[in-house]
Subunit: 262 residues, 2 copies
């Protein structure tokens, strides 16, 4: 067995992950990113070893609740923008060229982040998901999300632009999702979360006959997965899509890329 | 349902995680740290919510292979010390007061890191594991590790000091472990890794009658877990122990700590 230690002639780009929203989802995003990098290396024909992964930094910083902020427009209300900008600036200072935001609802502030850091690519997770659904010719989806994401129309706007119909839960079901997210995953009560998410998934499937559901909050896939109870429902995990996009960007300058795409 | 957004009067310390050795293990370490923080908050009576977690940064940087470096003393050979020092310095600049190294073999450079950054606590994962085994009155263990960790005596020295007998694999078995680590986990081939790790575990149990095995390389628990095939073997995951220690340090200044310990 040989332990190769020479550096490759081209190295992938440094990337950053803006997490903490919540922290378990941020940790899971790194896992998905590492998996996506492994797959990317296999596609590009790069031998998989520790030193061939892109340098990446995860910032898990306390950021005020996104849904609460979208509901509270009083001056001086706790806003996520400042700590998000600060953490993104620190990721930039660490050398990150591309950043992913490990929170769907936080994409309400994507524009501010991208505008303030024009030298970096701030990936838009919602747009990445919609692009993938378009490529798969999906025509209609159900959306599981936070109140903040529904109210801001984060997914609905992008889906409409792509002519994909979007079915959303009623008010009671949104409350169930919020319970699953806040009293469930964010408070460490996963069985409660799973029960709430499954109940709303089944309700959407029955009412709108949708077979594809977007798990549009990073907390949801931590407690919800495809299961016989959800027969006929295909779950889309935006973190998987965004992690793959981040890996693609990290390796975009690699010399073998053109060959693999040809 | 209320969305609390006020900051707590005392906030936990900022901590850093030095990862990338390998990246999958670094991601898993963050997951374990977040879990340990959730448990710590429950013990301390702190309501569990996103903003109550300690700010933490994960550095996943390319670091030359530790075992290769311990075997290669030529001047100019690729050494892990420099990138480890650089990444630790950047974690310090980000405000980290405590750092954990998510790699057992890299603890060969623990002394250099702690000496260079006296203002921070660099946790010693090996010492944390041995302290826990002592507290549990374990008298003998088997050690699964990299060649570098065996050759440097990282675990053996600390175990001897604690009067815990340490059984180690023979040369052929060490080669099997290295295959599991490098051609298995680090190359994304988990079934190969599991087969190699299980074979050596069973061999150690049969030859030395040990019932406790230290998974002394962060890659090993990614492919090895307690299983009927390993009947009677209790596996110690140093990452779990180190993540708990990091969470304990992060919350050490919290005002409720004294009450919970009393």
């Amino acid at each position: 067995m040989s332990l190769v230690s020479a550096s490759p002639p081209h190295t992938p780009q440094v990337v950053g992950i803006l997490g903490g929203m919540g922290p378990a989802a941020g940790a899971d995003f790194v896992r998905l990113f590492v998996q996506a990098c492994t797959k990317r290396m296999e596609v590009l024909g790069i031998p998989v070893r520790d030193q061939a992964y892109p340098e990446h930094w995860l910032a898990q910083v306390p950021i005020p609740d996104r849904t609460a902020a979208l509901n509270d427009t009083r001056p001086g209300a706790h806003q996520p923008a400042d700590p998000m900008l600060q953490a993104t600036g620190r990721l930039a200072a660490l050398g990150a060229r591309v950043v992913a935001i490990a929170c769907n609802t936080a994409h309400a502030w994507h524009g501010i982040l991208q505008q303030r850091f024009p030298q970096m690519v701030v990936l838009h997770g919602v747009q990445e998901v919609v692009a993938e659904l378009s490529a798969r010719k999906v025509q209609g989806v159900g959306l599981l999300a936070t109140r903040g994401a529904y109210d801001a129309g984060l997914y609905q706007r992008e889906l409409e632009r792509a002519h994909i119909a979007c079915s959303v839960p009623d008010d009671h079901e949104r409350e169930q999702l919020m319970q699953g997210i806040y009293e469930g995953v964010k408070a460490g009560n996963y069985p409660l979360a799973r029960q709430r998410f499954e109940a709303v998934s089944i309700a959407l499937q029955e009412r709108y006959s949708v077979s594809t559901l977007i798990m549009g909050c990073t907390e949801i896939p931590l407690a919800l997965s495809e299961h016989p109870r959800l027969e006929g429902i295909s779950l889309v995990n935006p973190s998987v899509v965004l992690a793959s996009a981040l890996a693609r960007h990290a390796y975009c300058d690699m010399p073998t890329e053109g060959m693999a795409q040809a």
